[in-house]
Amino acid sequence: MDTQEAVAESTPMETTNQSDSKRDGLKKFTLGPNDSLEGKLTYDGHMTVDGGRAEGEFRVGGNIEIGNNTVVKALLEGSNVTIKGEVEGRLTARDKLTLGKSAKLNGDVQTRRLQIEDGASLNGYVRMGDFEQQAGS
C-alpha cells in the first residue's frame, strides 16, 4: 500500500540488514552500524539509523531516530524525530524534534515542537508551527 523505492546497498558482512519487527502496531526499520542506505524511502512505520550511513530522502509515517555514531545526509520527514548523531539535510518533524547532546544538525528545520539539549549543535533555519499551515506562524 505504500510505495517504497529504496535502493539499498548492504555490505555482505552482516545479514541483519533491515530488520522489520512489529512494535506498537507500527513496523520498524533499522539500519545498524554496518548498514548503509542510499535512495528515496517512503515508509509507513518507524525508522532507526544507529551507526552507519544513510543518504537520500526518507519520508516516514512514524518516528525517526538517528543514533550516536551515525551520519545521515538526507531529507528527513517523520512524526517525531530524535537526533543524536550527525544530520545534514532538510528536516520536517510533524510533531516534535529532539536534538540530543551529541547531535549535529545542518539544515533547515520545520517542526511543531522543538527540544534542544545542551551540547547539541544546530546550524540552519528553524521554523516552528503547525506543519500544515506554515504560512508565517
Partner: protein
Amino acid sequence: MIGQIYIEGDLRIGGTIEGEVEVTGDVEVDDMAKVKASLAGRDVSIKGQVNGAVVARKRLVIARSGSLTGDVHVARLIIQDGAAFSGKVSMGGAAEVRPARAAEPEAPAAEPEVKALPEAPAPIVAAPVAAAPAPKVAAPAAQAPVVRGKSGKTGKTGKPVAAPTRGKPKRR
C-alpha cells in the same frame, strides 16, 4: 523603554523594550516581557517574547514559556519543549560542553537581579550610566530619555529595567 542600552552587568527584562540591548553579563527575559530588540549577552535566558536577533556569547536558553523570532548566534543552545522559535541558528561548529558550569555562573550573577527589587538592579544599571565611565555608555543611553512617557510603547510594568531611564533625564 525604547532605545539603545548598553549595560555592564546583568540585565533582567520584565517589561517592553524596543531597540538594541547589549549586556556584558547575562540577560533574563521574564515571561511577561515583550522584547522587540536585538539582544547581546553572555548567558541569555528567554521566558517571554523576543522579536529580534540574539547573540549569546555563552549560552541561550529558551524556556517553555518563551518565544523567539529572530536569528541566533550562540555557542550553546537549549530549547525546552513548549518553546516557540523561528529563525536562523548559527552555532559555528560543535558546541563546547561544559556541564559543570551550567548553573554556576548564573546563580551568583543572577542573585542581585532575581530578587526583583527595584533597588537591586538600579545601582548596577544606573551606576555605569550615571558615572559614565565609558563614553560609549553615555551616548546610547542619551536616547533612552526620549522614551520616558513619550509613547505608549514604554510599557514599563514597574520592573527594574526601566531603571536606566529613571536617571536619564538628568543627563540631558
